[in-house]
Amino acid sequence: MRRCVCFLVFALVTAARPLAGQSQVTGLRDLDFGAVIRGVQTTVAPTDPIRSGRFYVRHQLNRQVRVAFTLPTRLSRVGGGGNLPISFSTTDAVAQGTAATSSPVTFNPNTAITFTLVTSADFYINLGGRVSPAANQATGDYSGTVTLTCTFF
């Protein structure tokens, strides 16, 4: 029993140890539009603390990271039978470093942007957006994919 516990502790310590020279790109929170009503545009601001999409990126101080989103323009109805327009404006993304001195940077998620990690080695990106269901939008489930690509040089 004691051997089993020791192994478990060892395994958890191993899992907790950071990798040397690591980079990290993680999706933390999905962009959540909540209930959508026919004919009514629903917008989520990137500053929304609950419904905005949220990503975490970590690299190394003073290095550059190229951030590019691949965003859907339409969401497909599961099972077929229609699309639902989705759009992202020029101010729908906000990057914020984790240092106390880091300032938020609003950027256009439709265009790639390069950040230099000056104040902190890691930062968060919040993503907003809007969906515009038509007045005769077919009910059902709609799905799409948001891709964040981070290039480390």
């Binding site: 516990v5 478990l8 502790v9 958890l12 310590v13 191993t14 899992a15 907790a16 990798l19 040397a20 020279g21 690591q22 980079s23 990290q24 790109v25 993680t26 999706g27 933390l28 929170r29 999905d30 962009l31 959540d32 539009f33 209930a35 959508v36 026919r38 999409g53 990503f55 975490y56 690299h59 190394q60 003073n62 290095r63 550059q64 190229r66 969401l75 599961v78 099972g79 639902l84 790639a112 390069t114 230099t116 000056v118 969906v131 939008q137 009910t139 059902g140 489930d141 709609y142 799905s143 799409g144 994919t145 948001v146 891709t147 964040l148 690509t149 981070c150 290039t151 480390f152 040089f153």
Partner: protein
Amino acid sequence: MPRQLALAVLLLAGLAGRSAAQGVVVAPHAVYLDHRTRSGAITLYNPGADPAEVTISTFYGYPVTDSAGHFMLQVPDSVDPSMPSATGWIDAFPRKMTIPPLTRQTVRLLARPPQGLLDGEYWSRISISALGGAVPVTGADTGRIAIGLTLEVRTIIPLIYRKGALTTGIAVSNLRATPRGDSLIARVHLERRGTAAFVGMARGTLLNTAGGPVATFQQPVAVYYDADPAFELPVRGLAPGSYRLRLELDTDRTDIAPELLLRTATVRDSVEVVLP
């Protein structure tokens, strides 16, 4: 005793950073392979609470700078034999995997270069794509509109394959600087010399008329062919007047193993700057 052990396990589980995150940690930042061993590895770690579906792929690309001086990847539409691409003969094992929560996975990289490969440096990019979960959508309520977005995150790191004795160097020209708000934006044209990419550091110092440093920057640079990067120095609070911007490029990189760095002499340049 069982309670103490339970607490230890709980603490360690907390240390492991269990979360609902979707993505993986990737190490190292860059992969270097040589013609002697022809192999390497990257380590992936899933910090999340759910399994991560990961796909590895490679493509040819190299860093260039855009009009604003930011680094970006140049990815040619097609790769012809004149390009130093290693993409066609680098294999990753496995290429697709599911990594359980809080678990590491090693991905082996194996090079199978063509016969008669000339001495030189060959490049590729490794893309690590992790697919997370989606906002659940259900069809139980047929009278509503539900949206489920899937998150995918991609990490792209460089792969460099070397054969033979290689050299590198850097030529500096057209150093200039322009005040912009609370910053001074320095631009410079960099042109690689030798047979391998210049991977080093750019270090800038703004000097006052007495020769004292008043602002600095240091930033890693990788110049595969040429580049025109921008560097930003904070100049808030500095008195209007003349200054001198001194720029140095060297190959002292603490984030790359010394045996992998190609050394070259430090290159310097400077330019007069007037702050309004």
